[in-house]
Each structure stands twice: as C-alpha cells, then as structure tokens.
Subunit: 192 residues, 2 copies
DNA sequence: GAGTATTTGTAGCAGGCGCTACAGTAATGC
DNA sequence: GCATTACTGTAGCGCCTGCTACAAATACTC
C-alpha cells in the first residue's frame, strides 16, 4: 500500500512540471503517463480517475505557489504600490509566468462551467486574495478591494497581452502611480 | 457559388450565438453542424477546415462587439472613471458577459501557444485598447496605459471570480475612486 | 434536353479518448 | 510452503475527433 502512495506522490511531482509547462491542454492519460514515466493503466491505479488526478496535481501546484509567495513577500505589511511593484517583477519571471498561465487556463475552464475546475479555481482565488489582503498596509475596509484590484490588474495583462504579459507594463506603472498619488493625498489631508 | 456563400454567412450567424453561449469547448464539427442545422460534411464544404470556421466566427463576433461598443459609448471623450463605470455596468450585463467569457477562453488558448487563437486574440485586444484609448479624455502620453489598465481591471475580475464576475465590484469601485482622486489632485495643482 | 457545375448524402478512415476485464507477477503474512 | 494481497502488463471496448472518397441529386447554361 505504501508503494502506491509513494508512486502517487512522485507522479504528482512529475506532472506538476508538465502542467506548468503546457497548461491544461495535452492532458490525455497516455500522454501524462509518458511524462510521468508510467502507463495509463497505472495512472488509473494511483488515482481513482482522471478528474481526481487533475485535482490532486492542481491543488499541489496551488500549495507550492502560496508557499513561494509567502517566502518572497514575507509577512510585514507593505503599501499597495510596493506590493504591486514586487508582484509585477515576479509576474514577469518565468517561474511565476507559468503559474499565471495555468491559472488563466483554470479560470477559463471554470468560467465555462466545469464544476471540477470551478471549485479549484475559486479556492485558489480566495486564497490568493486573502493572502494579499493580509499583506497590505491599508485600512481594514479597503484591504480586500485593494487586493482584488492588484491581482486583477496583473491577471488582466495576461488576458490583454496573450503570450507576452510584459507588454502590459505601462498599465501596471499607471496603477502604481495612482496608488502613490493616493498615499500622498492622504498624507497631505492628514497633515492639514 | 452564391448559395454557398449565403449559407456560409447564415452558418456564421447561427454559430455566433452558440459560441457566445458555450465558449470554445463544445466545438466538435458534428455538434456545430447540429446547431447550425446542417451536417459536418456541409460545414467542411462551406469552410476549408475547422480552423477557418473558427476564425470566421470569432472575427465576426469581434466585429459585432466593437460595433455595439461604439454604439454604447459614442465618440465624445470621457474621463477614466466615467468610462470604467460605464464599462463595468455593461460587463455585468448578460450580453456583454458572454463576450467577456469568450474572450477569456480565447486568451487562454492563445496563452498556451495556439497560433490560430493567438493572432485572433491579439487582433481583438489591440482593437479594444485602441478604441478605448481614443475614447479617453486624458493626456496623450497616458491614453494607452489607462486604457489597458481599465480593460485589465475588468478582465481580471473574470479571472479572479470565475462564473460570478459581479463579485469583483469592490475592486472596480476602488479603481474608480483612485481615478477620481487623481483628477482632483490634478485640478488642485492646476489651480495653485 | 444534353452537358456541365454546384450542392449534398452515405459511409468510413485513422487516430484519439477515458476506462476496464483479465491475467500474470511480485511481495507479504502466517 | 501456502494463501492472500499488492502491483502491473496486454488487449480492447465504445465513443468521439477532423476529415475524405465516392456517388447521387440538383441547378444552371446553351
């Protein structure tokens, strides 16, 4: 029984790489088996069916992502413009870009109604918003909204500039400027 | 020869509805034929192959969208907060939501590298940015960036809240507030 | 009305899909 | 050593995919 679970975990690791590389297309059982160095027959031995396999790999990826995000940003509160600036630098990196592309795939599937992907996508989204909200140094009432705005702005670039997210840079800079302008205005009204 | 073209146009119209309803899944030739009231054999008579069919329908949809956008917004320049407010109201409507969901589908396919969808998605994106940039009453240097920011913010809600875009409302309101704050600050510095 | 060009139906190919039945091997407990 | 359990290969099911060969029907030209 333990060999099965070990193999299962190993397969999940191997498929994690593959999913980040190629997204949610190219997920035929025979293809996944090839990538994982096994057979389709075995995949359906380790996992109950294809859906369970997908769910396992995707939640594993989500876990890894939130871990690396926490590592990257720490836990001390930051201003919105700083968070966005840092997030944008990350978003342009290859490792992160893979996650974003996969997330977009997921959102697209979820949006077309697939219940499996819907629940996973929602789970990841709320996790991400909560994480960012807790990181933001803004009034409690604005935390969720600011977090959602920052995340949406970055994700939106992916939709707007398929395959070359970096081209959305000017929009991100614009939002950073808006955040800074707001901070300044608040400081002035506070000083008055 | 003319009957063929007529039929082709009719098929495009029928499939437009279907694509807006169901996105880019459910696009098997036999299924599309059923929706269009014909046979798969005939679809491949009207269109060279499936790719050409998809391209034809998608560009037709894109054309219709930009027409209805122009109708909705007119051509007189508007401030960013007004544009975003109006766009958001539209985005929540059913008709528009269908377009957004389809666009998300398209972006996801494009992001995974499919050349067909990539070129169509890019074409639609730049068209949309250009249209909005020309509509914005902001300094020339900021037009594209502001347009991209507004569009990304709305699209981002679709990614962030799959299936229930309206839940991103607070983030949109936040951005509207930022735009208004900026306008006020500019007015003040202009008055000084 | 004969002859040509356009339009359509029938049937099927080669390949992929998720999944399973069955049989065999290998390891484990007693 | 024997029995039970865990593991894995082979083969194939039924269904779907985009697409095509072939032939029949229909429309159009002269």
């Amino acid at each position: 029984m333990s060999k099965k679970l070990d193999k299962r975990a190993e397969v999940i690791d191997l498929l994690t790489v593959h999913f980040l590389d190629t997204g949610l297309s190219d997920t035929g059982l025979r293809r996944l088996a090839e990538v994982a160095g096994t057979s389709d027959r075995m995949l359906l031995y380790y996992f109950e069916n294809k859906d369970e396999l997908l769910a396992a790999v995707l939640t594993h990826i989500a876990g890894g992502l939130s871990a690396s995000l926490t590592q990257l940003f720490g836990t001390t509160p930051l201003s919105p413009d700083t968070v966005l600036e840092k997030l944008w630098v990350a978003a342009k990196s290859d490792a992160f870009k893979s996650h974003l592309r996969l997330w977009l795939d997921l959102a697209a599937h979820a949006n077309r109604g697939d219940p499996l992907f819907l629940s996973i996508a929602q789970q990841i989204s709320t996790g991400w918003i909560n994480w960012m909200a807790s990181l933001l140094d803004v009034p409690e009432a604005n935390k969720d909204a600011t977090a959602a705005l920052i995340l949406a702005a970055v994700d939106g670039q992916l939709v707007l500039f398929p395959g070359e997210i970096a081209r959305g840079e000017y929009a991100i800079l614009q939002l950073i400027a808006l955040f800074r302008g707001q901070t300044k205005a608040q400081a002035q009204s506070g000083a008055a």
